[in-house]
Assembly symmetry: C2
Homo-oligomer: 243 residues x 2
């Protein structure tokens, strides 16, 4: 891991850019900490630069208010990372199928499964590198989208102890089945009028998770309308499980 | 309103018993307050004595952690208040119909509509009396069940500015329609595996509420299994809307 930039923000939080091989990322750490901080991995749909304001708002809240470190990386095919022609094709196919009201299962598989296969080991390598820093001590939470990546990480990565997942995208059938094997505490966000996601599918997915502690937070509004109070609700969930 | 008992609890909260005419109630106020406190009306399914530990836990948290006053009254027909033969009959009919898998709409109407008609003016009279106390200033929130009472109060009582409602009991069709006229901010609790309530009916009710800000918190478990962290989630919701 190579640090590429560093700035101290007005709430005392330290924001550092880094690269892990070809993958760019951002790390936020609390201004003052007496012990190594728990870590929250912040997922997003790709395009780190465009997502930066929203990611930074979450991460700075977690760091400044709750003393958590937070980190994110660019998704495979996102931002300036090399595109996959197959993924671009699947994305176009999905848009067309949704507009036409056609079945999307095979397209969702073609779009999401390779992304999960590639992204999950990258998150794990990032985790290795971050946990090697003296200021970060674990335990670790995962927050955000892509929900299929969160599901796989929750199943295969024992260092992740709790997750806040955004049920905002199509989940392949294979990942839906994997959700039954998730056992860590979950808080699941659902936008009630999400124009990019089927409400019943999201409710079925919440039902499928194997976790004994799972909470659904459904809010009125569309895909990008998650209310800002859910940032603190997520932080309090992590405070219960990571502290 | 006549005060009937008073004790200072170990967190400094003052718990006072009162009667309003024939209706017994309890008022909790913060140990120290520099200004009149916002008020939370805490609803419950009846049987104040049996409900006391759970109600007191909520009220004391709200008072000690957030500086809210909280109050509850006995329901018509609850505790030592005179029973209604019709309500007792409807309750027995409902149990029988649910066990037999028969339609319950008419029985729910017979059970809940008279309760709402009687309880809502009692809550309003209680509100008049409480707001006359110098240590209570409003604004006012309503929290808990019976959800049909909460719906009617939210529609007819303009002094109530926000509500946390427990979708844990059958709602008559007429109240379901009234839910569309509710416009105050809502947080709705749903127990995902509630053996006394139909999940889809609760989701439809959440959908029906007319409020622009409404959040559903669904948790795993049965009717009485609402997790304790929802007490603080409710208090934080009220802190956003009553402060």
């Amino acid at each position: 891991m190579k640090l590429t930039s560093e700035q101290r923000l007005d709430d005392g939080v330290l924001e550092r850019g880094f690269t892990l091989g070809e993958i760019p990322g951002i790390l936020w750490t609390p201004g003052s900490a007496s012990a190594p901080a728990p870590l929250i991995l912040v997922g997003h749909p790709g395009g780190l630069q465009g997502m930066h304001p929203r990611l930074a708002a979450r991460a700075r809240h977690h760091a400044a208010e709750h003393g958590f470190a937070a980190a994110t990386i660019e998704l495979p095919g996102g931002g300036d990372r090399p595109r996959s022609a197959a993924a671009e094709q699947a994305r176009a196919d999905l848009r067309r199928a949704v507009e036409a009201g056609e079945p999307v299962d095979e397209i969702v598989d073609a779009l999401v499964l390779p992304l999960v296969e590639k992204a999950v080991p990258e998150w794990q390598a990032t985790l290795d590198a971050l946990l090697a820093l003296p200021e970060i001590g674990g335990p670790v939470g995962y927050e955000g989208g892509v929900i299929s990546i969160g599901i796989r990480l929750a199943v295969v990565e024992p260092r992740i102890s709790a997750a806040v997942l955004f049920a905002g995208t199509f989940v392949p059938g294979a990942l839906f089945e994997e959700a039954r094997r998730v056992t860590i505490p979950l808080q699941v966000l659902l936008q009630w009028d999400d124009e990019r996601n089927d409400r019943q599918h999201a409710l079925d997915l919440f039902d499928a998770f194997g976790s004994e502690e799972k909470t659904l937070h459904a809010n009125l509004g569309g895909h990008t309308g998650v209310p800002s109070f859910e940032i603190d609700a997520a932080a309090r969930f992590f405070a219960r499980h990571l502290n």
